[in-house]
Amino acid sequence: MMATPAEEIPIEVHDLTVAYQHRPVLWDIDLCFPQGQLIGIVGPNGAGKSTLIKAIMGLVPLASGHVEIFGQRSRQALRSVAYVPQRESVDWDFPTTALDVVLMGRYGQLPLFGRPRAKDKEIARQSLDKVGMGDYADRQISQLSGGQQQRVFLARALAQQTRVYLMDEPFAGVDAATEKAIVTILRELQAEGSTVIVVHHDLHSVPDYFDHVLLLNLRTVAFGPVATTFTEENLNATYGGRLHLLSDVTERLRQGEWSARKQAK
């Protein structure tokens, strides 16, 4: 296999350590995300999944290490990355419309005091259409359902027209229709040659949705193609036996053991 030149690697993470008040959240992460892939990040709660994405975006201070985007370390390089934060990270009562939120995705391309032009509005509308929210363009964002809000966030990232997408739990708390719509868009982005990195919480759908998977728990447990990486052994190493406990829980729920005990009380 030939070595890929640095400027073709969308995101490279070097010796990255992040700590909150002396407690490490990410420890010595060394990764090279491949171009044009759908990549899932999974791991238990508090494993540092969101923190890794925020660290790549320069939103949390790094204790050590650095991130390269297409071989560059400047903040300018971040403009080729679109970030979809967790839905709860913003105030949905903010006085603005769905179209307006999507339009914010264009702000990075505008001059310092420039206003969005007709072309930017056109791109914003197209992005809303792509996520099936074209009819809701003028709705105030608090009137949208959780799934619709998530789609608006996705449309905003699309409007940025970048080559790399980082998404923090886009499937959290959305309806089945939205989940399907998001997956379709992820595949389209990949077909266009974009790299999409998604923090994901549902282990069952990992093989269906992603080509590559990063198993994370403070450190990189395993990273590679899903077929070879998403194994029981690696999952056990990531979840440290708690996975058994989890499946045990679902098993017992299924057998109705707990509801029976509840009735006995």
Binding site: Y83, P85, T96, T97, M104, G108, P116
Partner: protein, 308 residues
């Protein structure tokens, strides 16, 4: 028929209200209302020091001194909450009371030397504002307060129109702002700087305490009446100006304090908006709720008819 002085008073009040409403909207949306309160008090030592250094009430020096103090307040609050392990509201409380107390000491200590009085700073003397005119080369250039509030009002208008997109995205989603190369902390400190300017300009007319009402109440009223940021800014300015005019009329009628009457009127307007607002108002919500209940009842009736 209003006298010339009355026109000046209403005009000063309106300029103050406009400035306050513009920056106030962003304070409210960023949930930093009380930082406006903190800054309005903390700028006092800045003004006194500018006063003592120049020996005059030079508008330029006062504004620079105040702007510096406003940013210092925002900075100290940030440092205390980050390194002093204080909650951000506690950090704010520590910072602004401390700076304000220094200001009070300075005023009382040098009260003979400077033409500044604590009551005026706290409560404002808008009645006296028209008397303090700028004369230059024997010509009357109008009240000093008009110039002060007018300059600041224009500055705020420029700030909010030119920086509209940055202020908006920083208020809505700081993460996005940072990722597309907008410096969140730069715009935070700029906003704090303009809040300080606004406060100083409003000091002599409405005072340090009531300026908070002008910063917070009209934007909150506007927030209840619209779902668009641009309209919110316009409505807030409108409500502010209406409060200034209404307050003046109320004070004249009652023969009471004008600045306080302005704050009272803005409070009344807020209450009206909270009750009668088109979507967030109590009545509208009640009606919407009632409509849903009716729909459910109708559906239930239809259901039982179909079943029978």
């Amino acid at each position: 028929m209003m006298s010339m002085d009355s026109v000046w008073i209403v005009l000063i009040g309106s300029l103050v209200a406009t400035s306050c409403a513009l920056v106030g909207c962003f304070l409210v949306l960023r949930r930093l209302s009380m930082l406006g309160d903190a800054i309005s008090h903390a700028v006092l030592p800045g003004i006194v020091v500018a006063f003592m250094l120049t020996g005059s009430r030079n508008i330029g020096f006062m504004l620079v001194g105040a702007m510096a103090m406003g940013m210092l307040t925002a900075f100290l609050t940030d440092v205390l909450s980050r390194f002093g392990k204080l909650q951000s509201d506690a950090a704010m409380g520590v910072t602004f009371t401390w700076l304000f107390a220094i200001g009070v000491i300075l005023v009382s200590k040098f009260t003979g030397m400077v033409d500044l009085d604590v009551d005026c700073v706290l409560y404002g003397e808008i009645v006296l504002a028209p008397l303090d005119v700028i004369e230059w080369g024997g010509r009357n250039f109008g009240p000093r307060a008009i110039w002060l509030t007018g300059i600041v009002c224009v500055a705020n208008l420029l700030f909010v129109t030119l920086g509209y997109k940055q202020l908006k995205v920083c208020a809505f989603d700081a993460g996005l702002a940072a990722s597309i190369g907008i410096s969140v902390s730069l715009w935070h400190y700029l906003l704090m700087g303009f809040v300080s300017l606004t406060t100083v300009a409003s000091f002599e007319s409405v005072g340090a305490i009531l300026v908070v009402a002008m910063l917070i109440v009209p934007p909150n009223t506007a927030y209840l009446l619209t779902d668009r940021l641009s309209y919110m800014l316009l409505i807030a300015v409108g409500v502010g100006i209406l409060s200034a005019l209404g307050g003046f009329l109320l004070a004249t009628w009652l023969d009471g304090a004008i600045a306080a009457a302005m704050a009272v009127v803005s409070g009344v307007l807020y209450t009206l908006a909270a009750l009668l607002g088109p979507r967030h108002g109590v009545l509208a919500r009640h009606r919407a709720h009632r409509n849903i209940e009716l729909h459910v009842e109708e559906a239930d009736e239809l259901g039982s008819e179909l079943r029978s």
